[in-house]
Symmetry: C2
Subunit: 194 residues, 2 copies
């Protein structure tokens, strides 16, 4: 399964196949059951993840109990809570496995040591994080400039598999609407299931 990770790294790196193999051979792969909470709200983030199989939901529960789903990460996406900018370094979000997951697990405290051991790794990670930042900009911009119905259509076009993988009320929250609106829009525009 490590070939998925190696192929992903190739997109962001000038490292040789041998160097990438070395990096991949040093990272642990772990399995997590559906429902596992990888990080609680208020906990210090200590790990980062890369999804080989499965789906991770990033969400928060407000003081009054309102749940908002911010991100749905699937295969070949990396999941890290970056808190460099924050005064309080604990996580505002919960990370939970929506499905059984197979994940590459990295230890944030070993980041610097890993860069020193693997030449080219830091450049690759920088490239990946810059890519993530650009992607996040685009997602945020799309969210701001579109209506809930347009967001649903974009989801159908770009990530249709999420409709089958994610509970409807979580998808509704992710698209910024109530479950009732989601159901109405889905009916009006037609879903994948027809």
């Amino acid at each position: 399964m490590k070939h998925i990770l190696i192929n992903y790294m190739k997109r962001y790196s000038d490292c040789t196949e041998e160097e990438l193999n070395k990096i991949a051979s040093n990272v642990p792969i772990e399995e997590f059951s559906k429902g596992t909470v990888l990080l609680q709200q208020g906990e210090m983030p200590e790990k980062c993840y890369f999804i080989l199989k499965g789906c991770i939901r990033k969400y928060s529960v407000s003081e009054c109990g309102k749940e908002t789903t911010f991100k749905l990460y699937t295969e070949e996406q990396s999941v890290t809570i970056f808190n460099q900018h924050a005064a309080d370094k604990s996580s505002r979000y919960r990370l939970e496995c929506v499905e059984d997951c197979v994940l590459v697990v990295g230890d944030l405290s070993e980041e610097r040591a890993a860069y020193e051991e693997n030449p080219g790794l830091e450049a690759m990670i920088l490239n990946m994080v810059q890519g993530d930042l650009g992607e996040m900009h685009d997602e945020f911009a799309s969210f701001m400039s579109s209506s809930p119905a347009e967001r649903y259509k974009a989801l159908l076009a770009k990530r249709p598999e999420l409709l089958k993988r994610i509970p409807q009320h979580q998808l509704a929250s992710y698209l910024g609407m109530t479950p009732e609106s989601f159901s109405r829009i889905k009916k009006r525009l037609g879903s994948l299931k027809g």
Copy 2:
């Protein structure tokens, strides 16, 4: 004015004062008049910026002429369009000076050479970009989970100076509402001007 840049770098770096001075002495500082377009929609991004003074607006104009303001960058923020993730590397956004600006201007094509010349620079930039990504996550999450009135209150609390610096219709768009709603909410909640 370079002390602003040096102080900013210190937050993200273990470099010595001497090393930071060397980095700062090598970057050009340029002045731009209010209204200058730094990057057009559809253009290839070639520069990155760090704001010493002034404000840059990141926005787009849709095919039907609708303008959406996505980001309002001010002092001590860096502005880069990252397109690593995109098939089309041209910018979806326009960058425009909302005020007269004094900017540190970096050349994206010289990024790699600069890292080789300045040990510690790559680690610092990675740290900054990770911070930016975390901050963007938080902003996106706040936007998703809050009402327009709550966003206005958050702006009043965190960046009240924007109310004086940015035209009202652009602020309304940035907060995800019409100028009419913005005006109504402002009246209802009271503005800084009292």
